[in-house]
Symmetry: C2
Subunit: 74 residues, 2 copies
Amino acid sequence: MDNNVKSYRLQANLSQKQLATATGITRQTLSLIEKGEYNPSLKLCFSLCHILNKTLDQLFWMNTEGRDNHEKNS
Amino acid sequence: MDNNVKSYRLQANLSQKQLATATGITRQTLSLIEKGEYNPSLKLCFSLCHILNKTLDQLFWMNTEGRDNHEKNS
DNA sequence: CTTTAATGTAATATATATATTCCATCTGAA
DNA sequence: TTCAGATGGAATATATATATTACATTAAAG
């Protein structure tokens, strides 16, 4: 459940409270999401993507070496 | 909550039952997801991505004209 | 005409995401 | 030192995702 939400939030110069409010969730939920201790719904992920102007892959797809690259050009 | 799960499942020549079992969910849940009447958790999305060998964006990111392209090259 | 695979759908139960409220800690500014 | 913003964390309540079970329809195969 790791993600890039925190780094993109900081890039956008937003506090947890600001991002949470803009996204329509609570600060506590966002805090747990950033810490990777949460399993958010897809709809919530979309909301975060929209506010941060990123795609799902940018925010949530961690390309570790364990995971293969899923052959993006196929 | 639209997605490309069904088309990629058919591309992989899998039945709903086969994909659901491989993913660790029930056929009913997969059926509702494919029909867009569901808000799956991110973990479940990851499982589907893994089995179908696709990324989150490939399976769940619908670039309609309503949604902007989030400036992928920034 | 049966049988079976594939899919849609509904009712209920359970697990868990999310909100709400509250408190603690830290940092920077007055 | 005091105060306010930012964050982490816990307890409880509510909403909803998901499983389970069951039944229906359609199409293909015997």
